[in-house]
Amino acid sequence: MITDELYSTYQSNLLAGSRSVCSHIVTDLIHSNIPIKELYIHLFQRSLYEVGTLWERNKISVATEHMCTAITESLINLCYPAIFSANHTGQKAVITCTPGEYHQIGARMVADHFELHGWDGYYLGSNTPTDELIKFTMEKQPDLLAISISVSFNIPSLMALVKKIRSHFSDLKILVGGQGFRWSGADEFQTMGNIHLITSLDELEQKFLIPRRHDT
């Protein structure tokens, strides 16, 4: 269980760049069989949201923000043996960031959640060129495509990407989400067909990953 005390030890070490202490905390939690989702939401996500807030308020430098993200990405690797062990359902999702979006950790956590639920989560990373994404999607024929933006400046880029995708895949289910929608931008996507705005990992899980009774 992630107590407030444990969280604050983790967070202060993350901000200080003490990767090894953070790594011990995460390893201990994994060994205690904590659900991976809890680790993602109550440790990684919570701490990165806090780091983002500190950056926005000029409490930490952009270099510190990048260091915290880099450390967190390496800590997420520790969870993979558990994540990839799920039995596969045969469903496929492609997860990506828009061109120009360099914050990839949110998309990566989404891809990992698909894997955790037995999907094949094909994760393409940050700043994916549109043509490459279309080529990859044609090749894999996924059940859905998830696109993440972390900064709101990338909403126009997302809009352009979605239109391009639609012109190639008229029926493909598209999920959009990420911190880029924190303040605005959601309305523009609500009216488009078969596009779903996802605001949290919980919502993603409830609406798309946990099989409903009539699906089974």
């Binding site: 990405e73 993979y80 990839f84 894997e115 990373g125």
Partner: protein, 370 residues
């Protein structure tokens, strides 16, 4: 306006600026350094020669180069307290009796490097993710392979056993009614089926070991006694090749807690391998000695030896070396892998020392305490 015309500007540069600011005498001595320069270098620069701060890779810096009247920035590598040199862009100004040197980092270059580092880090993490995913998939496939192997080996064992028994029966009972050619064929059937049965049994062993099903029934055992019994049995086989097996032990070996059957399997394998690869007229020596809190067993032969580049893969399944058995004996390529797993299961160690043209020594050590 020159810096000299504005003493406040000099004071600011010397005390507070995040630029490197040095006032240098014409002889190359640093007359004054600001706090930025001092903290970067890790010590007070005042009074030191400029060459102590500027990394010139062995060449003496020529101040006249800096004072050629050009206003261009000069790229200089400086030594820092972090032991990693840093690159600064310097401008030099002639102040009459001294020189003012102002150095600043190239923000664009740092930004570019940082962006590249971030991208490389992301790429590394994404590749790690893919690698770990593939690892889990490979593990699942390996488990499936073991399961399949177990079923196949188990189901094939009985029919091969029947082939072996019946061929043996025909050879013994109907020998007088057969031609020499028929007897040769039946002998081939028998030796081949024996080899297949051994292969299947070793596959079942590997399967059990890889699936973590190694069950040890450990009891206090007289290891030296076990070695002597095993050696005397193996001497019968070795005698056919005119090879002698001897045991050497010059100290009291305490009882060890081991699975007798499994360690016997280890001894059988190592000694029969030694016999297999030895030439007639040579000796195989089995040595027992104490090493700290372990007892070590060494099986030493006078065979052809194993090339150094082949010893690493000896204990992996299905690996064979370029060394050939001296009487054409067959090998499944699984024995040493099984042996290694049995020894590791006893918390022991196994290794080999070999020299081409001299021979090989296979060692295993077992803890004296449980």
């Amino acid at each position: 306006m020159t810096p000299e015309a504005n003493p406040h500007l000099i004071d600011y540069l010397i005390l507070e600026s995040s630029m490197i600011c040095l006032i240098i005498g014409k002889d190359g001595t640093i007359l004054k350094a600001n706090s930025c320069a001092d903290s970067l270098s890790g010590h007070k620069l005042e009074g030191h020669p400029l060459n102590d701060f500027f990394v010139d890779f062995g060449r003496a810096l020529d101040l006249t180069v800096f004072l050629n009247g050009s206003r261009d920035k000069i790229l200089v590598n400086i030594s820092t307290s972090s032991e990693l040199p840093e690159t600064y862009y310097f401008r030099f100004f002639d102040l009459g009796n001294s020189i003012l040197a102002l150095g600043e980092a190239n923000r664009q270059e740092i930004g570019f490097l940082r962006k590249n580092m971030l991208e490389l880090n992301q790429e590394l993490n994404n590749l790690t993710r893919e690698l770990l995913k593939k690892n889990v998939e490979l593990k699942k496939l390996n488990d499936l392979k073991n399961q399949f192997l177990g079923i196949a080996a188990h189901d094939l064992r009985n029919p091969i056993g029947i082939i072996m028994t019946y061929s043996n029966f025909i050879l013994e009972e109907l020998n007088h009614e057969m031609t020499d050619a028929q007897i040769t064929m039946l002998n081939t059937i028998q030796t081949t089926s024996e080899f297949m049965l051994r292969l299947l049994e070793e596959l079942l062993d590997i399967n059990a070991l890889e699936s973590g099903k190694l069950r040890l029934e450990a009891h206090k055992t007289d290891l030296l006694g076990l070695v002597r019994t095993n050696t005397s049995m193996m001497n019968v086989i070795a005698a056919k090749k005119n090879i002698h097996i001897q045991v050497e032990s010059y100290e009291t070996i305490p009882e060890v807690i081991i699975d007798r059957g499994k360690i016997e399997q280890v001894l059988n394998n190592l000694i029969s391998n030694a016999v297999k690869f030895s030439l007639p007229g040579t000796t195989v020596t089995v040595k027992l000695f104490l090493t700290g809190d372990h007892v070590t067993v060494a099986v030493v032969d006078q065979g052809p030896g194993i090339p150094a580049n082949e010893t690493d893969r000896l204990f992996k399944p299905f690996q064979r070396t370029s060394v050939k058995a001296t009487a054409g004996e067959k090998s499944t390529g699984l024995g040493l892998s099984i042996v290694r797993n049995i020894i590791l299961g006893h918390h022991g160690k196994i290794w080999v020392e070999s020299k081409v043209g001299v021979g090989s020594a296979f060692y295993f050590s077992l803890p004296l305490s449980s």
